[in-house]
Amino acid sequence: MHRTGELYGQFQTLDQQREAASLGMWVFLITEIMFFGGLFLAYTINRAIYAVAFAEASRELNVHMGGANTAVLILSSFTMAMGVWCSQTGRKKLLVVFLIATLALGGVFLGVKYFEYAEKFHHHLVPGYDFHFPDVKPEIAAQDPYINAHAQLFFSLYFGMTGLHALHMIVGAGLLLWLIAQAAKGRFTPAYNTPVEIVGLYWHFVDIIWIFLFPLLYLIDRHT
């Protein structure tokens, strides 16, 4: 069965139906905020305890790749927002263009992430048997004798948080593929564009998570 935007029995108006859908999506996103919130909390506490090791480990990240990815993700949020506008104003062909652009930018993000991860494997910075943190200055080693173990904690959180974020991106890419197929058939009109709006909310949420991950993981100990 395909939903074409007819009014369902439990709603009185199409506006009410649309608002209920976006409210439901927001409730889901709140659960996602709590889920990522717990991870940010774990990161903050460990960073406060092992400040020296976390600062050293943070500087091992590639800030140029991280920064470029931030810009890519913000651009993809912009193209997604433009997609919503196209669906609201009946621009069916332009909608497909903007959705494909969003998917492509998401692909670029994941591609850069692949090279970043590969670099970490190459430098023995993936937690586990092969983990070996580069030698640090004697005064740093004196401040934290277990810096190898504590840096491993940083990279566990790094891979956990960016990995879950990347997983959300992959889910978003799947949603976009479905959306593009529907949009290509001309299914979305000014009267019915709820799926575009809902996927948009999800995509922007994933953008917001990265807006916090980038400074916290890559930037805050960059100055010294």
């Binding site: 608002e19 927001w26 506490i45 305890i49 800030v63 810009a71 927002a81 506008w85 609201q88 960059r222």
Partner: protein
């Protein structure tokens, strides 16, 4: 009440602002602000992140134009997040054994 359509002009202004502040947060991270006040680097980074996230929520996610009940759900969610962060951190960061 029918849905509010946000114009491409607003989306472009918000997108450009987000990109500019990504540059600002990178530049701020290269300065040693901790020298002025300990913890200022992370405070500035988080303030910029919160500002950027607020723009995304209000304009890209249309929260500014959403019905009041949707806005209430968003605020309630942020309230629970604040409880999670503040109560847990006030425990951990006030422990005598924290740094030793």
């Amino acid at each position: 009440m029918s849905e509010h359509i946000v114009s491409p002009r607003i989306y472009a202004v918000i997108g450009a602002t987000l990109l500019i502040f990504t540059g600002v947060t990178y530049y701020a991270a290269t300065l040693d602000l901790n020298h002025i006040y300990h913890g200022l680097n992370v405070t500035v980074a988080l303030a910029i992140a919160v500002f950027k996230a607020t723009l995304v929520v209000l304009y890209f996610m249309h929260a500014r134009y959403s019905p009041k009940r949707t806005q209430l759900v968003i605020i309630a969610g942020l309230f629970w997040l604040a409880l999670l962060l503040l109560l847990t951190l006030s425990d951990y960061l006030s422990r005598a054994t924290m740094h030793g």
